[in-house]
Each structure stands twice: as structure tokens, then as C-alpha cells.
Symmetry: C2
Subunit: 409 residues, 2 copies
């Protein structure tokens, strides 16, 4: 990306109504735009980062045999009436609307009901099972308040995976596989060293569930953990029964803030029973499908990564998800020429700051945008056949030979 | 994709309420699911096809310097009130909803207002122009009727591109470039030989516009064209003034049905004026930004391709957008073994029909699914070191040497 050609710009300030660090920095760095409270659009850099996160999730889910689909936002009340969740007392975050031709519709805040309903067409025999289907879909949630930037919004991108198995045993095997895939995902996203599987309430789904919690000072959740973090539990389930079950004592636990970056639920027959999703077993018996669901808020995860890594100068992206790897600045006539040459080798991987600005402003923008490596080519560095490369994360600079800078990969 | 592992299935019949050929075949072939009238979800094969179309459009737009973004579905009334389109008399296809915290919201049926509003932050000087930004976004349109399958739905994927230029001249240059990109897109989608730029009404935007019309018996539009198809116009603008402008006589024109697969509008100041999108020109003068918009209904185009190519046996996909290139059937022990071996060389490009079914059923499904090449490997073909390859489009079969079947790229 040539900065002279993109409409992306950075800003010194954002509106005072933006109090969350993640949204403030992402807006200032030109990654996102606030359309209204809790509703953000994604600009070129933001969309590229979001897609990088999405692709990592997709790759890991495909590896464990999941299939990608895309359900709809508009929802027919029927399956939700069967599960009881059409009622706003049961689910208070609905956006509802009306058909011009008559009849109420909802905007999907989640997709258990429509996918259970869909699978009635595709599941009739034990031979059709198991099924693991996921999607990247925009969810709509009518949150009363929205003040955590892209961590909790009214419209957001979510990956939701649903499992359909013939029995609990197959479910449990897949649940473990999905857990493994989640840890690989967080590793690749740069959250591996501070994200833990956490025992939590099952919410509307079940008595208990598992969350993946990233330990983070600004996290909205409070979790308790033992010394080696083999036991982590959400404050909401800190009671004697759970402590006995998990085999820990209250006094062994420490407390921290954490941000939820995923959750997995054993749904059992919660949706398949009221929606009558059944199959013929090997012995001809009619049985109800056993279900699970597995979520990751993609845009939320992006916000958590910002909160974890950013510093006073701006964003810092792990290499895996950065929109570009290099931020290239040419200084002086020869420097600019060489920078352009280098850029053209791999425009997909490089931001070329070819704007008519002072180097100081370019340095500041490279930091605000959080690109992993800033590369400066000037007449001075060229005199030594070198470039100066600075790592955003550590701030460390070194000179390397021009031919050692590999931009191609 | 191994058919034994996917949940995708084919169906002999669909519900009687589905009258459009495109949706009927796509549902029967397991590509999409009808959630309700005018609302379809995309299953693995359907989503893959849709993404292939999306990628072709993306590549061609990136080539002409466009930048990808992602705006939101939820809409603040404010910018729409300024343009006058919040009012349902002006735009009668709104889905509207309400915030729990109070206030009306809309679901975007299009995005002129929000992108104009967004650009107020990014455009202040002539140096910021031109800007060409596009997105692939779900649009919501509260259509009174929905009966053309995925050609006209209440929720659909659209590519919408918006241009912002300092003057009409730059606009016109880009308008021509966009036209060129559109023709390349239709070529790559397999619609090149029957898609024409068509003079049309400007709808709510302007007096006139251009549509891209694919000549097709089931198309909902009626267009008139001259012998060499250098002049094509929509019935709605067939009047003396337009005929003079286009330099044709009424009696030179023939009539046909056509399906719109894209449209481009010169918006001029239609949105930038009421929303006050201005810039400082070179001479310091404050000027209003000149705008254009350029749409392609991605899911609609997928439906048009179905309508154009499908035959009585099922779907037929052009190679460029087919979800898979080969449909592989192994017959007999050795045939099955060899088929699996071949499949593993490039699972991304091959459907392996490893289900426990009669070959006849597999042949029928390969035709219904519209995969470009069916490859049969049996003990008999293997005896000659060959496979039988059948082109879906022509139905022609031939034997080719095993080593001549290139599945890799």
C-alpha cells in the first residue's frame, strides 16, 4: 500500500465519547470508523487485520474437519418460538423488524435455532453424523450500553461453530479437539501466553461451560486461578460445589481481570429437542441429536490484541495478523528511489510512506499504525549498502545489509 | 471435499413454493437453503462458489486502484435524513428497527449516505482525492414480493464501489475504467458473450445511468438493441429524446429479455451536496466532491450464471467459479484406491464421491452439482492406465492417460 494512494489517514485525536483504548487507537490509526455508539466500520487496514484473524481461525477449524457455511441475519420467528428464545424476556438483546408483506422478523444475535432447523433437512440417519459446521457472520445485539470499543458492540463479526453428534462420547471427543484448535488459534494470534480455558456459567445454554479468558487489566471479567493456572474459573461460578469439583481450595486462588476471547458450550439436547432434530440410530431407534457450540468474537479478539500489545505510541500487531509487515520510508532522492524499488517487489507486504511529509511524522505514523518493522532507506544507509530496521515491539533498531532484507515471503 | 465427510446432500425435489429455476437447482444440489421467502443461506458448495465470484470482482477492482472497506448494516438516521432517503416515501424498501436505549435505526439497503458521511473525515483537500472505495456487504431490502430465487432477495451480498473525485473529468476517466473492469469481470464469470452495457434510467440517483444486462430469456428486464449490439437500452428509457441521443432509430431495434448484473451511476453532487462533502481546491476555493457509484449483486450474479448455463440435469459452472474442478468417482477396489490417491494430491480442487452408492447415483449427483469435469477411475480404465473424463457442459467423454490428468493447479 502506498500511503500517497490510499485514503487512510491518521488522526491526533478522536471524539471524547470514545473512552476505550482499543477503539481510540484504531480510529486514530485509520483502521476503523465509529458509525455510532457500538457500531464500527472497517477501513482498509482494519479490514485486512480482521481478515488475517479470520483466516487463522478458518485454517485451524478446517484442520479438524469443520465445514464453512453462511447463515442469514434475517430470522423467521418460528424456530425461536420453539426454543422459547423469541421472547425478549428470555433473550433481551433482539433487534426486531417487520416485513413489508407482514410479519415480524429478528436480526440474529446468534444462530443455534436456524442451524438446528437447517440440519433437520440434512440429518436423518446416524450415517449423516457427525456434522461440524461454522460460519463467519455478522451478529446483531441490542446492547443497552456500548462503551468498550470493539470489545462489545451492537454489530460484530463472530465465528460460530456448531457440532451435531450421535452421542455424548463423540461430542466429548470433538469438544477436546475444538479446545485444542482454540489454543492453536490463540497461539497464532499472539494471545497464547496469557489465554486460559476457564470454567464458567453456561448462561442460557447449560449449567456450566468453558470460556477462553485472556488475562488483561482492562478485561471486563473477573477470574480466579491457581498457581500454575491449571485451574481457572470465572467469578460467577466461585462456589463450594465448583471448588470441590475442580479440586481446589479458595485460599489457593488468585484474582485477575480477564477478557473473554471465546467460549464453548455443551448444548446437549437444549435446541435439538424443542426443534425435533432427530436421527435413526444403527438399531433403527429414533434418537435426538447431541449438540455443542463454539464461539469466537473475531472483531472482539482484534480489540483484545490491541489492548494487550499497544503502548503510548500506538498499536502494536503481532506479525501473524499485522495488515502489513514492513513500513518503508525512503529519505533523500536515492533513498526514495530504492524504497520504491523494494516496495514493488511485494506491495502486499509493505506500506510505502511516499507522502510529502517530514520523516518525523512518518516515524510517528509507523508507530501509531503498529506495523511490525519500520525500514528506513536513506542516502546515508545506502552509502553502506544497508537499511535501518526498527522493531515496533521493542523499539530496537539495527542496520542490515540491503540484500538481507527479505520482503518477498 | 470427500462426500462421505461433508453434510452436503442432494435432493430430488424442493418445496413447491420455490418457482425460480436458479434457487430450485441450487437447493436440490445442496448449495443453498431457503430460510424464508427471499432469504437464503449458503452451504459449503454455495459459499465456495460465491467466494470465487467475489474474488474475481475483488481482483479486477484492486487492479484499477480501488480499496476494500466494510461498512455496517445498522444505520443512524442522520445522514439519510439529510439526503431525504430516510423517509419511506423516498425509499420504500427499508427494514427499520429500534435501539434498546432509544432511537430508530435502519438496515442499510445501500451505502451512499454512510460512505459520504465517512469521507467527510478523510477528505479535506484536493490532495485527498480521488478516492475509490468498495465493499462486499450484506444489503437488506424489504421487498414486497420475492419470487426470483437468489436474483432478488431481502438479504443479499453486494459489491458496491463509490468514487470521489475533484471534478467531472476525473470522474469520467474513472467511469470508463470501471466499465472496463466490469467487462473483464463478466468475461471471467462466463457472462462475457451475452452481457452488454445498457443505457437506463438513473432511478433515484440521476436522470440516466448504465446497467450491465445479460441477455437471458428469464431476465426480468426488457431491453432493446441494435444489430451489432453497440446500442442497448432499457425499455424504461425508450423515448424519442434518448433515441436521438443514442443515434438510432426505433425500427432498427430488437427486443429481448435481460437480467441486470451490474449498474454504474454518475451521482454528481446528489449526496455530497446535502451531506456537505467538500474540499479545498488548489486555488483555496471550497468545492463539493463529485461522486459515482458502481454496484454488482454478487449473489444475484451467481443466480444469473445458473440460469444461463443450467440444463435439465442440473447446474453447470464455468471453471473459473466452480467450487471444485473435478468430481472423482472410483469404481472397484483398485479404482477406489487410485481415486483416493489422486484426491489427496489436491483436495481443494476435487470432490471425491466416496459414498456407498451405485455409480449411477454418483453420476447423477455430479451432473446436478455442475462440477466441470467428472473423472471415473475403474479397474477397466486402469487396465489401460487411463481415466474417463466427461465435460459437464458438453457431456463429451474421453479416455485420457492417468499421467495426463493434472489435478494440481
Amino acid at each position: 500500500m502506498k500511503l500517497s494512494k490510499t485514503f487512510v489517514k491518521t488522526f491526533r485525536e478522536v471524539g471524547k465519547d470514545e473512552t476505550a483504548k482499543n477503539a481510540e487507537l484504531l480510529i486514530r490509526a485509520g483502521y476503523i470508523n465509529k458509525e455510532m455508539a457500538g457500531v464500527y466500520s472497517y477501513l482498509p487496514l482494519g479490514l485486512k487485520t480482521l481478515k488475517n484473524i479470520e483466516n487463522i481461525i478458518r485454517e485451524e477449524l478446517n484442520k479438524i474437519g469443520c465445514e464453512e457455511i453462511n447463515l442469514t441475519a434475517l430470522q423467521n420467528p418460528e424456530p425461536w418460538e420453539k426454543s422459547g428464545r423469541w421472547n425478549s424476556d428470555k433473550m433481551d438483546i433482539w433487534f426486531k423488524t417487520e416485513l413489508a408483506s407482514g410479519g415480524e422478523l429478528g436480526l440474529a444475535p446468534t444462530h443455534e435455532e436456524p442451524i438446528t432447523n437447517l440440519m433437520k433437512k440434512y440429518i436423518s440417519s446416524y450415517k449423516d453424523l457427525p456434522i461440524y459446521a461454522y460460519q463467519f457472520q455478522t451478529k446483531f445485539r441490542n446492547e443497552l450500553r456500548a462503551k468498550s470499543g470493539i470489545l462489545r458492540t451492537r454489530e460484530f463479526l463472530m465465528k460460530d461453530l456448531y457440532s451435531f453428534t450421535a452421542d455424548e462420547e463423540t461430542h466429548n471427543e470433538f469438544y477436546e479437539k475444538a479446545t485444542g484448535a482454540y489454543f492453536k488459534i490463540y497461539d497464532r494470534l499472539g494471545l497464547g501466553d496469557c489465554t486460559y480455558k476457564c470454567f464458567a456459567s453456561g448462561g442460557v445454554f447449560s449449567k456450566y461451560s468453558h470460556e477462553f479468558q485472556t488475562f488483561l487489566p482492562v478485561g471486563e471479567d473477573t477470574v480466579y486461578y491457581n498457581k500454575d493456572k491449571t485451574v481457572v474459573l470465572n467469578e460467577e461460578v466461585l462456589n463450594d460445589e465448583v471448588l470441590v469439583d475442580l479440586g481446589v481450595k479458595r485460599e489457593e486462588l488468585e484474582k485477575t481481570n480477564a477478557a473473554e476471547v471465546g467460549n464453548i458450550f455443551t448444548l446437549k439436547y437444549k435446541f435439538s429437542e424443542p426443534l425435533d432434530l432427530t436421527f435413526n440410530d444403527k438399531d433403527g431407534e429414533r434418537k435426538t441429536v447431541y449438540m455443542g457450540c463454539y464461539g469466537i468474537g473475531v472483531s472482539r479478539v482484534m480489540g483484545v490484541i490491541v489492548e494487550k500489545y499497544a503502548d503510548e505510541k500506538g498499536l502494536i500487531w503481532p506479525e501473524n495478523i499485522a495488515p502489513f509487515k514492513y513500513y518503508l520510508i525512503g529519505i533523500g532522492e536515492e533513498g526514495e528511489k530504492k524504497a520504491l524499488e523494494l516496495y514493488e517487489k511485494n506491495p502486499e507486504n509493505i506500506i510505502l510512506d511516499d507522502r510529502d511529509l517530514r520523516p518525523g511524522q512518518k516515524f510517528a505514523d509507523s508507530e501509531l499504525m503498529g506495523i511490525p518493522y519500520r525500514v528506513v532507506i536513506s542516502d546515508k544507509t545506502l552509502a553502506e549498502g544497508s537499511v535501518e530496521i526498527t522493531e515496533r515491539k521493542t523499539g530496537e533498531s539495527k542496520m542490515i545489509k540491503l540484500e538481507d532484507l527479505k520482503v518477498e515471503a
